[in-house]
Structures are given as structure tokens and as C-alpha cells.
Symmetry: C2
Subunit: 404 residues, 2 copies
């Protein structure tokens, strides 16, 4: 049995938290709130093509040679300036590692830090891709609830007191995937204080931080770091294009050393051709201006989504009111199972798609929530789709909570 030769971490009987998230519905009227992809109609294609050509013409053959494990220096310097300006993080290009998307950054941190059984905290619900990355390093998870202003720090401190071995906390502080929640500045500061007191590392994953529709970005958790124990991760997938596969992290000291060692052994280096093109793009164009264009579009979509939730959904259903990012999180009455509702009623009867919430919990033990993504749809499509979804949800709620 070849299956027996597979590593225990793979656990072939349990599918990846990332698999089976998206059900394909070929109906021509189908509307999908599932995939968290950015809107490709907003991609700066012409500008990026020019940037590729400039890179090739300026550097010639050398552009295609082995380059740098940490990534193109010019790009790293631009990322340093960006996170200084928008996140109040003071760092240097030497502390930046350019990765294959934010996903690889999370994976490298997991690989650098987690031995089997090591204890870590995640907020719940949490980003499903991070769970997929962590799962393969076999940690022991502790879940801490999210409040409207981010992690419940009292619950976190209780957990830390009961489990003093906890070494890592993973959080998405800005326009969180899947809930859209943002952590307050006060909590960011307090979280670093807890990390110092209870000796753990914070993995701050912030791919949506630029996409706030009401406010400018908040200072990163990393900006409050006093002991080199915060790892900041972001990505260009959401504000530029995902197929560039370009994320990045900022880390310091022995944590950075461990990550770099792990990176070198993982894939030697990321794509120098792409890095040079992105650096040229950022030279020749104003990325902030592009981000403003994105925000103008996504803001309307976000507004349409929240309006529909307020108008078309029964009061037994609760939902978040995101001020940025791509996602809204909907909680149904406890008796309802969002996955069963999707496959048995919502897809066949309304041709609407969403992501059931179960895989966003490390224990996969919560079944009455779902993630809605508005990034790929026009406000009109959102209103139409949410109307159809609302009807299905109403009918399902009425079955378990009849109005007498």
C-alpha cells in the first residue's frame, strides 16, 4: 500500500481545508459569492505589459538568470517605503522576503516555527488557507473568538494562562477573511503587550489592508513590535494581480534567519522576472492611485452587499458590516447547516453559490455560517443574487423557526 508511505502530516483521509470550497454551477444565471478573487476587469494589464517589456529591455539576459533568495532589491525597497507610509512599520529591505503569494509566506512561517503538537492560537473563524498551511505541521490549535473590533483579548489571555506553551498566534487584523472585521488600534497594541508577556510570536497576515472603503489603513500590529516577535505578511494579489504570485513578509532576528533558511531549501528564490516587472510598474505608475480606483469600485459592491443583507434577510440571521476587503460573514440559526442548505436548496433552486463556513474553523465543528464575497460582481448582480439567496435563507429559517 503506497498510501502507507505518505507522511502522517498529509492525513490522506482528511481533505485539505482548501479543497472543495468552490462548487461549480454551470447554470447561465448562476451568481457566485464563493471565490475570493479580485475583479479582473480592474487589472492594469497595459501598464504591466509595459513594465515587463521595460524589465527585459533594460536587463536583457541577466534578468533570466538565478538572482536573489530574498527577491529583487528595488522591489523590496518599494515595499519597505509602502509599509512605512501606510502601516507605520520602520524596517529595511534586508528584513523583507518576497514570497510566492501570501500563502507561501504563511507556509514558511509554519515550517520555520511549528513542531508537531506545538500550541498555537487562531481567531475563529479564520482564513482557510492558513489552516491548510498550519495543518500540515500538526499544531495543537486553540480558538479565540472575534469581536466587532477584533480578537477577544480577555479570552486570549485566559487561553494563554491555561496553555503557557503557546508559541504562535495567527491573525488577519485588516478586513479579515472571512468576516471583514478589523482589529482596533488599542487591541493591536495590547496584543503585542500580551505577546511580550506570554512569550509568543504574532503572525500578522494583512492582504486587504489597503482596501478600506471608509478609512485609511491602520498602523500594523508590527508597528508596535518591541521585541522582534511580530511577522508581518502582505500580498500584491488583491491590489495588483494574483497571477503575479507575489507576497512578502517582514521579520527580524532569529525568526527571520529561520524563515530564510527554510525558504532557501523550499524553492531557492521566487520569480526575478516578475519582481523586476512589478518594481518597474511601481516606478512608472502610482500604485496608490490604482488602489483608489479599486476602492471606488469595491466600495459600491460592499455597500450593495450590506444593504441586501439588511433588506432581504430575516432577523434570525446575523452578519458583519465590513468597511473594507472582499468578504461578509453570515451566521444562520444554529439548527441550520450552511453546506447542506447550499447543496440541497441554494444551488439547485436559486443558482447562488457561497462558501460554507465549516472549513474556517480548525475543528471544523461549526456549521451554521457562510462566507459571501462581493469582489467579482457588479452592484446589480449583488442585489439580484442576494435577493435570490435571501429567499432561500428565509424559507430555511422559517422551517426551523416557524412564525406562529
Amino acid at each position: 500500500m503506497l498510501k502507507n508511505l505518505v507522511a502522517q502530516r498529509v492525513n490522506p483521509d482528511v481533505p485539505s481545508a482548501l479543497s472543495g470550497l468552490f462548487v461549480n454551477d454551470p447554470d447561465p444565471h448562476a451568481i457566485s459569492f464563493a471565490a475570493g478573487s479580485p475583479n479582473e476587469r480592474l487589472f492594469p494589464v497595459k501598464e504591466m505589459q509595459r513594465a515587463f517589456n521595460t524589465a527585459i529591455e533594460q536587463q536583457g539576459a541577466h534578468l533570466f538568470q538565478y538572482q536573489s533568495m530574498q527577491g529583487n532589491l528595488n522591489l523590496r525597497e518599494k515595499l519597505v517605503a509602502r509599509i512605512q507610509k501606510w502601516g507605520h512599520v520602520t524596517t529595511t529591505a534586508d528584513n523583507v522576503l518576497v514570497t510566492v503569494g501570501g500563502q507561501q509566506a504563511i507556509e514558511l512561517v509554519a515550517k520555520a516555527l511549528l513542531d508537531p503538537g506545538d500550541e498555537m492560537v487562531v481567531e475563529v473563524p479564520t482564513y482557510v488557507g492558513a489552516l491548510a498551511a498550519f495543518d500540515l505541521y500538526q499544531p495543537t490549535y486553540y480558538s479565540v473568538d472575534l469581536q466587532a473590533d477584533g480578537l477577544d483579548l480577555d479570552e486570549l489571555e485566559d487561553t494563554l494562562k491555561r496553555h503557557p506553551g503557546i508559541k504562535l498566534l495567527y491573525t488577519v487584523p485588516d478586513y479579515h477573511n472571512p468576516t471583514g472585521i478589523t482589529m482596533s488600534v488599542a487591541k493591536r497594541q495590547a496584543l503585542v503587550t500580551l505577546a511580550n508577556r506570554y512569550d509568543f510570536i504574532i503572525l500578522e497576515d494583512s492582504p486587504y489592508r489597503d482596501l478600506g472603503y471608509a478609512n485609511l489603513p491602520l498602523p500594523a500590529i508590527k508597528s508596535f513590535d518591541t521585541q522582534d516577535r511580530v511577522i508581518f505578511v502582505s500580498s500584491l494579489s488583491k491590489i495588483l494581480m494574483p497571477a503575479l504570485r507575489t507576497g512578502w513578509l517582514v521579520a527580524d532576528g532569529p525568526i527571520l534567519d529561520a524563515i530564510l533558511k527554510v525558504r532557501l531549501a523550499s524553492d531557492l528564490e521566487a520569480n526575478g522576472v516578475i519582481h523586476a516587472a512589478i518594481a518597474n510598474y511601481m516606478e512608472e505608475n502610482d500604485l496608490d492611485q490604482h488602489v483608489n480606483v479599486l476602492k471606488d469600485h469595491y466600495r459600491q459592491q460592499c455597500t450593495a452587499m450590506v444593504a441586501a443583507l439588511e433588506n432581504d434577510f430575516p432577523e434570525e440571521v446575523s452578519f458583519t458590516r465590513p468597511k473594507g476587503g472582499f468578504f461578509d460573514w453570515v451566521t444562520l440559526p444554529e439548527e441550520l447547516d450552511a453546506a447542506a442548505l447550499l447543496s440541497q436548496q441554494v444551488i439547485p433552486q436559486a443558482h447562488i453559490n457561497y462558501v460554507p463556513g465549516t472549513n474556517f474553523y480548525p475543528g471544523r465543528d461549526v456549521h451554521n455560517s457562510l462566507r459571501l464575497c462581493f469582489s467579482g460582481l457588479s452592484p446589480a448582480e449583488i442585489s439580484a443574487g442576494m435577493g435570490r439567496l435571501g429567499e432561500q435563507v428565509k424559507a430555511a429559517v422559517r422551517e426551523v423557526r416557524p412564525v406562529l
Copy 2:
């Protein structure tokens, strides 16, 4: 102490097998036989630029969206046709995974298969990057010697009998890095028979298979696979360009399933923009013809290197006579330490660089060998450099083996 929060696998006190391989010598007359990079003067830059532009113009914004975990289908089909033609491997695009260089393919296999302490076999010496990838999954290594026609299969079978838990064997059968040795067809077949009998998996890493200077490529070990237990890995880094960061693997059944699960969690997918460009390049150009151009150049370099070893080195020194690839392996008398010789005499006195052999052994316990790479130098540079290196080696040999 943050260092204590790092995973045990990272072992911060031991540098990566990949680090410190290349010593920088700023002397204008320095000649380096160290880095194993392909010759960038031979890169098809114009053709690749055209292929990028075609990809962008044909696919527009969609090219930059999230795409496919396994990689561009068109590219995978072309790779399938290539390994059928040149390696006699019959497979399908569904069995191909496009990776971030061959290095990521090795890393994914290690991650999918190795629990701490799992037993595996490597030929010695072996590719240092593979050791760096394996090291982080904490296997127990057994070393088997290389003969002129590849792995010593008698020694291998002895090892398998003594350690029946061995689950993985790693080999570079074609123009091996670092020795240039190629495994005979008979041994390829016999190795698969052993894998079936002793129930282990073969990781066949073959980035140099197209670069034979005397012969056409041999059938891959994978072509003899009868039980889905051979994983074939190759790369476009050596026959096209390294900064494309594009490698690939072929696997089947539960092994493939495990690798795909691990890949999804590692970085979601590789670079769809690059994949489309490479597929276009292969559509619009004859890659085999480009490979022939490369072979015409590298053949002369290889010949110059072997001639210099025959003419300029003392008879106490032995060396391989590669018929392909980039490397030659030199063994000094046992009393000599190649790293000390390099730093104390060869660099300061002759401004010649090579890679000391120690890191190519999992135990790092062999010190009298060194790797020479000829891919980046002209035949004239090779002759001049080898003359200078030969003098240093002669002097060192005479010290430990005086002619009386």
C-alpha cells in the same frame, strides 16, 4: 529567547547545506568554477519576450487572475509530449504538477513523504539542494556510493536488507550534480525492481537529462515504473532560463494526491503568466533546436575541462569524465581538505573558485573532494583557470605526498 520558539527542524546552529557554497572573490582575474548557473549568453531573450507579449495580448486580464493549482494545461501537455519523446514515459497532463523550479518539486516530495526519523537513501555525493530540502523533514539518511554507471546496487540492496523501513530513495540519474555520472539503463530497470521488492519510492531528479554531449537522453527510471512508485522531476532552468522558476514533476495515485494536497497548502499555485509565456515559446520555437545550440557550446566547455584535468593535475588526483551536464567531481588525496585548500591557497594565490565537496554528503564527513562547474566559462577561460588550479593542487599534493 526567541530562538527557542523556532521549530526543531530548523536547527539554527547548523547552516543550510545550501549556504556558504559560493565565496565571492572580487579580483578582476578571478575565475569561478563554483556556481552551477547556465550560461546566460545562450538565453533566448527575444523569443521569450515575444512569448510574454503574445500571452498578454491573447489572454488579457484573465492571464493575471488565479488560475490552476497544477499549472497551465497547455504547458503540461507539452511537457508530457517531451518526456514521452525523450524519456519514454507515458503519462497525462493530469499527472503533471508545474512547480517553482525543480527545488520546489523536491521539497514537496519531502513534505508529502517524510516524517521525522523516516529512513531514506541518497547516493553520495548528492545534490546539495536536495539535502537542504530533506534535512528540514529530519529523515535518517543512508548513503550508497556512486559507481561509473550510477548507484552501487549491491550496496543498496545490502542497505535495504539491513533497514527494511526505508521508504524513499533520491537519485539524479542523468549527468548527476555534482559528479556528472549517468546511471546505465540496466541499473534503472534493476532499481525499479528493487523498489517493488523492498517497497520504497524513487525520487528521480533529472534537470540535466537533455544536456548529453555524446548521446541522446536515456529512458527515465520512471519509464520502467510498474507500481506508481517513481516520481519524476525535471526543470526548465538549465535548458531555458532559471528565473522562470519553472520545474515539474510526474507522479501517480496516492503519491500524486499527497503531493497535490501539500502543494495547495504551500503556495496555491505557481506563476500562470510565466507558464503561458513558456507554452507560447514552445509553440513558436523548437525547444529541441535550442537545446542543440546549448549542447554545442557546453560540449566544448566539458571537453576543455576534462582535457585540463588530464593534463594539468597530478596522478594522485582522480576525477570523473562527464558526458553531459555542468559538473566534474575531483577527489584529492585523503589527507587534503578541499575547503581549507580553497580559502587558504587557491583563492588568495590563484583567484580560482570551486565548491568544496563536504556539503554534498548528508553526514558532511568527507572533506577531500570538490565540484567544478564549466557552464559559465569559455573553453579558453576553462584552460587558463584549470592551469592555475592545477598548480595549486599539485603543490598541495606534493606537500602530503612528497616525491622522494
